[in-house]
Symmetry: C2
Subunit: 303 residues, 2 copies
Amino acid sequence: MKTYLDCIPCFFRQALEGARIIKASPEQQKQIIDGFARKIPGISLEASPPEIARFGYAFLKKISSEGDPYKEIKQKSNRIALRLLGKLRDKVARSRNRLLAALELAIAGNIIDFGVKNHLDVGAELKKILARKNGSVCRKRIFHYPEFRRALKTAEDILYLADNAGEVVFDRVLIEEIRQECPDKNIYYAVKDGPIINDALFEDAYACGIDKSAEVISNGTEAPGTVLDLCSREFRRIYKRCDMVISKGQGNFESLSDERRPIFFLFMVKCPVVAEAAGARMGQIVLLYNLKQRNKRRTSLRT
Amino acid sequence: MKTYLDCIPCFFRQALEGARIIKASPEQQKQIIDGFARKIPGISLEASPPEIARFGYAFLKKISSEGDPYKEIKQKSNRIALRLLGKLRDKVARSRNRLLAALELAIAGNIIDFGVKNHLDVGAELKKILARKNGSVCRKRIFHYPEFRRALKTAEDILYLADNAGEVVFDRVLIEEIRQECPDKNIYYAVKDGPIINDALFEDAYACGIDKSAEVISNGTEAPGTVLDLCSREFRRIYKRCDMVISKGQGNFESLSDERRPIFFLFMVKCPVVAEAAGARMGQIVLLYNLKQRNKRRTSLRT
């Protein structure tokens, strides 16, 4: 999706919240806001939001004394989520439909997002997720589960695009379930190449143990999404070759929603612009198969 | 109060919503956003939010073909509110404490604010206000009513600072009640000098009939608040002379909250930064006597 003008106030809010997370002084916070404001007239709205948001985060990095200002937050998210691993697996094991349960948990784990919400009590949020009854979040939502299951059966190579640190543990539970059902697939788990907000890096993937079930690769960029033009050639080759792509989080949706190849987008809807673009509602958890959604939109335009 | 960095994303949101209200094309909307972004590095956060917000609205006016892009909206607000005049008077007449009822209604009428909320169903909001029981919105809030009543008894000249069109009808009901209790006061009703969002101008004051109970004056500026340095000398003279000032709305609070003279601020809390500055909570209706609040804060700092 392209960037909407409505994203611009939100970029400023994100930059400011980021500045506070890295404990920038008020003067530095103003510098970050000013630097980003100077960029605004030059940006093209044809770019996706993650392409633009990275300018704001570049200012954060310039000011932060740390190479990775969210490192501590990411490590904490990993630790909290890892403590839940047993409970997450139990919840899946006790479900009548294990794959569906693992999918729901993986999407719900997308709550761990500091780009959207600054003061996040990760532990409390995750407890709420675990307290939910299976299927209780299923009603009135986009959930292309039959298509997902069908694609899984026929796919040979699966590319799973990671979103946030911590959330990786939830992805791990889903990938373990996929492995259980279809043991002989190649599964690639793609993380960002360098620090951007709390997006998962190699170290988070390994810390959360996802390397036990998937081959961890880098997408070659530091954008908070999968901006293909900025990704490495190696990543693009894998992206093209894999016959099933599972994409986590809004950032990946924002950067890949216009792709014409089949992609399953798993995310929690956290912004009204994305809600509009996905045909969903704020706060919904979504499993969206882009080709089905596109056909549906075409049909509704015709009628 | 000074401007907080948190206000900046909000200025952009307001400018964008304003651009849509004046039916600016997407290109014009981008121009407005870009123009305001260029201003950001040059602004001082020591200025109050209304001083800065007026830059954004200046871009709106430059692009709008109308001299007063909110004229139609203001006229509609006036019409809707005027239709309620009888009911508002009835509500006051049926109350055990007429002055208190009129005060509550005047503050609740501050819901009519397009600077904060774009899509506002004024009629529906006002019906909700009328459906409230007296005193039902009184609990757990800042409501310096005894101080207000005392000040009213001793004051000779009262200056009432208007906020939005439509809301003027609610102010009229309060001023009628003040006149009823203290018939021989001079009451000045100050409106903005030129169009700024949906703030009341002379024409709105007259359309809402407030001239029957107060002398309508202009504050000499087009800022969405009362920025004294920008106000006319004539207005400042009256401001100094009046021994009671009643200030409506957040914009007037933002620009006058640091004043050391006694002021009664009547407004609905619509933003977290103002909530923090006023020691109130979002959504609360507030009757705040600045000197009392200041003493309270001093005491709490000492303890």
